[in-house]
């Protein structure tokens, strides 16, 4: 009855108001609400992301600073006087606390030098020097990033990781979309049982399937190559098939049927009707797989242990977590660098989520 077309309609336009004052009032209200919501989200994020602060701070520490357990990457301050280095300490005097370098410690009196005015010469101070607190100043080890970049052969590993992730995303998207469409739309006998079998593949703990899986890939001669990390993803997995099926099932069927009447076969319907409606979830699935592959550590380690030139960054990071030489700062520095590509990808992908892909009903 209405004239609505069966095409994608973006976020609805704000309701039309006739009077300017009400428009202004609505704008002001909307603005305030937006500000409050955003402030609330930022507060949540402050708490939620606080461990990142710890991560960033750790990445900027030296090994000594990590062992000392200081909150910030700070090092004790020193002052060079006549070719020698002396510790700077807080000295209580009648003019308040002074930051002086301890040159000559003594039992009852000690000699200090004022770094701000070294030409004044040594200052004598009465008191126990052992009780004096050393002055620390911020000492950020930006160099950690350069060292980590060098040690993990970052460009090479970045390329490996990106290649494994992108190929896997392609395989996952194609295979899972096909399978999910099959589950969502076709009257296959025993479909529910098949679906439970699909889900059951992610229930059994990996610990006990590991050995036979490894033996299988070894028998195929795939160890030492990327194949075990890529090929299985071209055959669908329960996580993404389930998600896509759930999403496809919420899509109205009228459009399928309209296309069917127009003579489209099921494959064409998938391409022209289902997929255009499912961009947000397809992007979500692509992102999941990308992030999964980006961080998957265990399988690449298992299959690429003797092929270091093929390893992804997740395995590279592990060299800073050696049993005997742990280097948390380099580990975190590498992790932060490795975060950059997925973060950029995520930011870009959000465009799809912003559009509000919503298909409304057909002609009524």
């Amino acid at each position: 009855m209405a004239t609505k077309k069966n095409t994608a309609i973006a976020v609805p336009a704000p309701s039309e108001n006739t009077q300017t004052s009400t428009v202004l009032f609505h704008h002001a209200r909307r603005y305030t609400a937006g500000a409050i919501l955003t402030l609330f989200a930022l507060l949540l994020l402050l708490v939620y992301l606080s461990p990142f602060g710890y991560m960033g701070v750790t990445a900027l520490k030296s090994n000594e600073q990590i062992i000392s357990g200081s909150l910030l990457p700070a090092s004790p301050q020193q002052f060079e006087y006549q070719g020698e280095l002396y510790d700077v300490v807080n000295v209580p005097t009648e003019n308040g606390i002074q930051q002086w370098a301890l040159v000559e410690p003594g039992r009852t009196t000690s000699q200090f030098i004022d770094p701000a005015n070294p030409s004044a010469g040594l200052i004598e101070w009465e008191g126990r020097w052992r009780g004096l607190e050393r002055v620390s100043s911020l000492d950020l080890q930006w160099n950690n990033f350069a060292i980590a970049f060098e040690r993990v052969k970052f460009p090479r590993m970045l390329f490996n990781t990106a290649a494994i992730a992108v190929i896997g995303v392609v395989g996952t998207l194609i295979s899972c979309t096909l399978v999910a469409y099959g589950f969502a739309r076709f009257p296959i006998p025993g479909k529910n049982v098949l679906f439970i079998i699909l889900i059951s593949t992610i229930i059994l703990p990996r610990q006990v399937t590991l050995v036979p899986t490894y033996a299988f890939f070894a028998a195929l001669g795939w160890t030492g190559t990327w194949l075990p990390l890529l090929i299985p993803h071209f055959f669908a997995n329960a996580y993404n098939v389930f998600l896509l099926r759930q999403y496809f099932m919420t899509l109205p069927r009228e459009l399928d049927e309209a296309a069917m009447i127009d003579g489209a076969n099921p494959f064409q319907i998938l391409l022209r009707v289902i997929i255009p409606q499912a961009y947000p979830v397809l992007v979500a699935v692509g992102l999941f797989h990308f992030v999964f592959a980006w961080n998957d550590y265990f399988e690449p380690l298992l299959y690429l242990i003797n092929a270091p030139e093929l390893q992804p960054i997740s395995v590279g990071i592990q060299q800073f977590n050696d049993l005997y030489t742990r280097e948390p700062a380099l580990l975190q520095a590498t992790s932060i660098m490795a975060l950059v590509p997925p973060v950029i990808l995520f930011l870009l992908s959000q465009k799809v989520f912003m559009r509000g892909v919503v298909v409304t009903g057909v002609d009524k």
């Binding site: 937006g34 399978v179 593949t201 099932m249 049927e257 099921p266 995520f346």
Partner: protein, 319 residues
């Protein structure tokens, strides 16, 4: 008008199409064709390892003596009853899971609602920031959390002690460690949030418009429109979170390895499976333990599927 009219249309459409027998047979064939990648993949990559591990459960397979495998009949399965760690680790898993499951489902819905609000500024950035922790490699987050939750030098306890609140020792208190583990899991909800946002994007905007015209308050709109419309993805999250909780491993392993410390509180079932299969190298009994978990989790999963039939709303279903 819109919602009811739509579902009526559908029912008519469905019956008229499925009546056609020949068409139905062709559709079944197409269905098998679409399923075929998974069916091939299942037999290639899942079936063999699964059956192998089932076979292991009837053997004395020891990783240190892989050449001396012998069938021992039901001995491993009998051992389950005499093993106190089975009950204890199942109980830990249930105790943690019953609290973590509802929270892990509800919190992403709430955050997704916030992140999907049209009035929110800088949505792209805010969403990315919420997703960010999910992208941190596990090795890195293990370090971050062990440091962050440290009772003396960790940021959390330090911050609260400056405002005069003493927080528990997350790492060594058998009760508090569950909260610590939950904080770590919360750090990985970026995925669930994203799924919820994607789900909210499918809700036809005309439904919201209609509700607004009727003057429905926001909470009613959320309860009557948003929740039912995204129930398929909520259901997805419930199933996957349940399975993940049965297999709970990464967070406790990060903090405590397979020791189960403090006081056996982190001896979750899957941690125990790992301990038996690897440090103790008893793959035969480890597989038995894993298959017990498989049976329990599968029954629970099927139960969730059956219950969900009454609560999950699909725009249409082919019968």
């Amino acid at each position: 008008m819109t919602a009811t009219a739509k579902s009526n249309d559908l029912r008519v459409g469905n019956t008229s199409t499925t009546k056609n027998y020949d068409l139905r047979r062709r559709r079944i064939l197409w269905g098998w064709l679409f399923l075929s990648p998974w069916i091939v993949g299942f037999f290639l990559f899942y079936f063999i390892p699964m059956i192998s591990s089932l076979v292991f459960s009837f053997t004395n397979f020891d990783l240190s003596r892989p050449n001396e495998i012998e069938f021992v009949g039901l001995r491993n399965w009998g051992s389950l009853f005499a093993d106190p760690n089975v009950g204890a680790s199942l109980l830990n898993t249930l105790k943690y899971g019953l609290v973590a499951l509802p929270l892990s489902v509800i919190i992403p819905i709430l955050i997704a609602t916030l992140l999907n609000d049209k009035r929110l500024w800088g949505k792209q950035l805010v969403r990315t920031l919420f997703y960010l922790p999910f992208m941190v490699p596990t090795v890195a987050s293990a370090f971050i959390w062990a440091g962050y939750l440290n009772p003396e030098t960790g940021w959390l306890n330090r911050f609260f002690s400056t405002i005069g609140i003493t927080l528990p020792n997350w790492m060594y208190d058998p009760q508090a460690i569950y909260f610590g583990l939950f904080f770590i899991s919360l750090w990985g909800i970026g995925n669930s949030i994203l799924i919820m946002i994607a789900g909210m994007q499918t809700v036809p905007s005309e439904l919201y418009e209609a509700a607004r015209v009727d003057g429905a308050p926001p909470l009613t709109i959320f309860r009557r429109i948003t929740l039912p419309m995204i129930s398929p993805v909520i259901f997805y999250n419930v199933v996957l979170t349940t399975i993940a909780l049965f297999r709970f491993f990464d967070a406790p392993f990060m903090l405590k390895g397979s020791t189960g410390n403090p006081a056996g509180s982190t001896l979750f079932y899957n941690i125990y499976v790992y301990r038996v299969a690897f440090p103790q190298q008893s793959m035969g009994y480890g597989s038995t333990l894993a298959w017990l978990l498989f049976v329990i989790a599968l029954i629970v999963t099927i139960a969730i599927f059956l219950v969900a039939r009454r609560f999950v709303y699909y725009a249409n279903e082919e019968n």
